[in-house]
Amino acid sequence: MQDFGEAVGMAVSLVASGDGDLIEIVLLSLRVSLTATALSCVVGLLLGAVLAVTRFRGRQAVIVAVNALMGLPPVVVGLLVYLHLSRAGPLGFLGLLYTPTAMIIAQTLLITPIVTALSRQVLEDLHSEYAEQFRSFCLSRGQIVRALLWDARYSLLTVALAGFGRAIAEVGAVIIVGGNIDHLTRVMTTAIALETSKGDLALALALGLVLMAIALAVNVVVQGVRLTAVRHAYA
């Protein structure tokens, strides 16, 4: 474990030195994963809400499928996106392979099932509480969905965090569709993989610590928002 102490020291001095390359990589990681999280929330929250309030044939099957997709391996998502965005693939003309956009697409696909499945559960629980009252108010589906999303907003923040955590930590998808190109598509996780393959385990671990610190910071901010809200007792 001599590497660990070295890694901690290196992580601290990396951050302290304000290394330009590191900042670039950190910012790209955040841009890719936060954008993917936001996009997956747009799609996933809506899907989750629809699954929570509607009853149709095959609904249980859809729920089981979405829950299963939470375990989607990043490498498989990466491959699927690669096959579509490759110049030889159906969307090759867009020229998106090896760009941050491709990475955002891959991570969005990866975490949308997580956001969908978890928000479906959160919203369905809330709906079971509100359903009779809402029927008494004669609300439309759209009004119900909007009310549920708004009232569950702080629980849904945690759902978004679960998605973000998965996105920022995954390497399998972004390394395939991003290519880990220096100054273009290199993010924290692919940089860690690269340093590991160079045998520079201390630097890899130091980058890992920085990544964890970033994830921690994002969680602290969100938790702060949540706690403030709870103190005002809207949750």
Partner: protein
């Protein structure tokens, strides 16, 4: 309505974030191997080329097999790998314009300092492989159809041994890149065949040493190929050819020769003059 405006603004911001940061700026994409990228060669060469031509070079570092596959899918402008027969096949099938020798180095077999198979100092690689197979000592193979893996399989074949019958036994196929395979091999005390450049720049050597080297069968030739713009219209032929021309020029060749790690030269230029 205020919320509607917020939603609209958020949507626009998301799309802006998701779209490419900058339009294609004439950059070229090189599909290459982990050995060249991990050794730091590109970090040394590319700024020189960019200063001279203004062309940015993006490098995707994967195994040779994967690199050729990506280039076959038109996902790249230049292919820089080290598996001559596969490269020639790629050109013959119309994937690339022409293949040119660029540089070489050599492969070595590294092993733990106590050298359980007793191959230390041997210069006949087939004999050394034979001895490793007979000793029951572990051998970690890339197992990923990379250039190094192809070379290693050819050497086993020449030694008349089919190590895959012992796969999972003393023959361990990691299915990973060179660095990952070294990490794994060193972790389990196995012999590993690696290119010298990766080994010299590899930072997690522990007690490992080069045990076998110097056989001319261990020669490791790198070639460079422009992806065929007739087959792949998306190829930046101009930029790609400029990069290849520079690599093959006296200036590029000298730059390759000048690159050193730990005061050792990693690659030896041998482009046809």
């Amino acid at each position: 309505m205020r919320t509607r405006q917020t939603v609209l603004a958020t949507a626009i911001a998301l799309v802006a974030l998701a779209l490419p940061a900058h339009a294609k700026d004439g950059a070229i994409l090189v599909q290459s191997t982990t050995s060249t990228a991990n050794s730091g060669l590109y970090d040394y060469l590319l700024p020189m080329f960019q200063d001279k031509t203004g062309i940015r070079v993006n490098v995707v570092a994967v195994g040779t097999g994967q690199a050729i596959k990506n280039a076959t899918n038109c996902d790249g402008d230049v292919l820089l790998v080290h598996a001559k027969p596969a490269e020639e096949a790629f050109v013959a099938e119309g994937g690339g314009v022409a293949r040119t020798d660029l540089m070489y180095n050599d492969f070595v077999i590294v092993g733990p300092a106590d050298d359980p198979a007793g191959v230390g100092g041997m210069t006949d690689v087939e004999a050394a492989l034979d001895k490793i197979a007979g000793s029951g000592a572990l051998f970690a193979s890339r197992g990923d159809d990379s250039g190094t893996h192809k070379k290693e399989r050819a050497l086993w074949a020449e030694a008349g041994i089919d190590p895959t019958t012992a796969s999972g036994g003393w023959y361990r196929e990691t299915g990973s890149g060179m660095g990952a395979t070294l990490n794994t091999g060193i972790g389990m005390g196995a012999y590993v065949m690696t290119d010298r450049a990766t080994w010299i720049s590899f930072a997690n050597k522990q007690d490992y040493e080069i045990q076998v080297q110097g056989d001319e069968d261990l020669f490791n030739q790198y070639g460079v190929i422009l992806v065929n713009p007739e087959k792949c219209p998306s190829v930046n032929a101009e930029g790609g050819q400029a990069f290849i021309d520079w690599l093959l020029s006296a200036e590029g060749q000298a730059a390759i020769a000048d690159y050193r790690v730990a005061e050792q030269q990693l690659f030896f230029p041998n482009a046809p003059q």
